[in-house]
Symmetry: C2
Subunit: 365 residues, 2 copies
């Protein structure tokens, strides 16, 4: 717990994170607790915290580790979970979310983290940060605990946009490959398209079209296309990158989380059942903690918006301090790998491509 005090601050690695303090289900307290947690672990972090100044000042003052490392930007309004994105775009200039995104737009921060309304955050990010050249629909990517060697798969889109045509799915594949390469250190990521069966004739027409587009680009894109995958492959070891539309991805994500949560509760009940099983639990406690750490959604909290000029991390609305801290950690990783720029280069190399140019390799990435 004293790492921060012992590790010297490295000015060249100073990372400024813009934090939307409001809009989560639990208010600003777990957000401030979460950044304090991150500040302890990483002495190079500096925060710009957006929200009602008076309330935030009180919360920050209680955390000594944040002294001198947290600027507060007053924003009176809050985007609620019920606000429509269009409302927020028209009337949201005084919200903490708008202010937090603005810090990335004007360059004072490299990345923004928010626990707020996903639709509004995506709409604001698109309008204020703008899409990368060639991107039609940005996507939200998450890391899913899996049987793959690295322990996680990337899935996208999990809810930026409920629609996606074949070309959007191709872009998701390319962006997901960049994320897997930079976030999971995979040289040749395996890409699969989520469908109701693995046979090529199955599923909706746009999925069959996407299948062919993504297969065509696999050599130039330096990924291994494994074809259609099913829901069971999301936590599996068949693909590292699972491509789907934001409606299906959102349902799958929440179904997986809900299932994991139910099993965790049933497991606890099972261990409370008899004195012998309670004793067993005591003996097994470290094993169970190891398991919980592996599948706890808070440990990998944070969807990343891909396809924008800047990095935005969407944390769970119900994130606690541990969850917020995990989202901050992810934000720092992505900032350091500069992968937003890499995605831009990747997409620029592919989007205008005709079939004859399929072997043209991008210079960067």
């Amino acid at each position: 717990m004293t790492t921060a005090q012992n590790t010297p601050v490295d000015a060249s690695r100073r990372t400024v994170i813009s934090i939307d303090a409001m809009g989560g289900d639990r208010g600003p307290a777990p957000v401030v607790a979460g950044i304090a947690r991150s500040a302890k672990i990483n002495p190079n972090l500096h925060f710009i915290l957006h929200g009602p100044a008076a309330a935030l000042e009180k919360l920050v003052a209680r955390r000594r580790i944040l002294a001198g490392r947290c600027d507060i930007r007053d924003a009176k309004d809050v985007v609620t979970m019920d606000d429509k994105p269009s409302q927020v775009l028209r009337q949201g200039k005084n919200t903490s979310m708008w202010s937090a995104v603005e810090s990335v737009r004007n360059g004072e921060s490299e990345v923004c983290v928010s626990c707020g309304n996903t639709g509004a955050l995506m709409a604001l990010s698109m309008i204020r940060l703008r899409k990368l050249p060639g991107v039609n629909r940005p996507a939200i990517a998450i890391l899913w605990p899996s049987r793959s060697a690295g322990g996680f798969n990337v899935m996208l889109d999990v809810g930026a946009d409920i629609r996606a045509d074949a070309n959007d799915l191709l872009q998701y594949a390319l962006m997901g490959v960049s994320y897997a390469r930079n976030g999971l250190n995979l040289k040749i990521p395996r890409v699969g398209v989520l469908n109701v069966g693995t046979e090529e004739h199955k599923g909706r027409p746009e999925l069959r079209e996407a299948h062919d587009l993504i297969a065509e680009q696999s050599e130039g894109g330096r990924y291994d296309f494994v074809g259609f995958v099913e829901g069971g492959d999301i936590p599996g070891d068949k693909a590292d990158v699972i491509v789907t539309d934001g409606f299906t991805g959102n349902i799958a994500l929440k179904t997986g989380e809900g299932t994991a949560s139910l099993i965790g509760d049933l497991l606890r009940q099972a261990f409370r059942y008899s004195p012998l099983s309670r004793l067993a639990q005591l003996l097994a406690v470290t094993s169970l903690q190891r398991l919980q750490k592996r599948i706890d959604p808070r440990q990998v909290n944070g969807g990343v918006f891909l396809g924008l000029n800047g990095t935005v991390v969407k944390s769970h609305g119900s994130a606690d301090a541990l969850g917020v801290s995990a989202a901050v950690k992810l934000a720092v990783q992505l900032t350091q790998s500069k992968f937003s720029q890499k995605i831009a280069a990747r997409l620029a190399s592919v989007t205008p491509m005709t079939h004859d140019e399929a072997s043209a390799e991008p210079e960067t990435e």
Copy 2:
């Protein structure tokens, strides 16, 4: 294990089940083992087994419990997992699947169970058994382990048809309510429509339209409409019946199963980690078995095709003997509650209804 020998056969409760022995991933052996298991538990069961006679006769001869209780119908061809439904309809007359459905059509059996290709089974069932009057798209319903009082929720459609418009979703709601009432003994089932958020403006247009249609019918249909639900509510306690299209439902089902399976494996690994945790596992073994029984997909194996003139149970392609036996158990339950006829009455009462007739209650069910 000797229940069968001690329980007298009740001729009035004799139930004949038509079984497609072929088409599962593991061939006919687990199918025959599964029906032998069911035969032991329930002395009133009789089977008509469809597939290559020579091979099946050998397998059946090895199970003494099946002696005199299992007719074999020779069918040379097998529907494979790769066969397109349209192919099977044109050229599938000699397949075991066709023969198994035909036994329901001609009335010699009340219900059919198959582990084969879902699309082909649904296509065959639709063409040979025909849809109930007023049904546009039949659906596959499953029971999902949940936090609800009865321990399970009904979800449909999990893969009969990848499309569903608002009126189809209304019919799924009504059929799901009948299933919950007859299969889970719920008087006033709670119905939710699966979406990416619970706010009424969210999701695809057909979902918002279905929301209003299902809300309108709730009084006459004697169910409680809880509005939109999210993926996390499928294993939750907010709704007893989860309504969705077959694409989304299939992805959710397989994602949930894959997640449960991953957690189960990680749990076993965790317990193998150290001598202490292995001891803990020994002490906890009954607790863990209790948990496994609750979430094991084989224990509730069997999707039910709703909306047809007859009952068809689709078992997992990879079902083992325990899974096949669970599918047979479900088939018997549904046959005894005669709920296919109840659904017909329910749909007939609602489909031609105008808003003015909304209070007209059906006589039956």
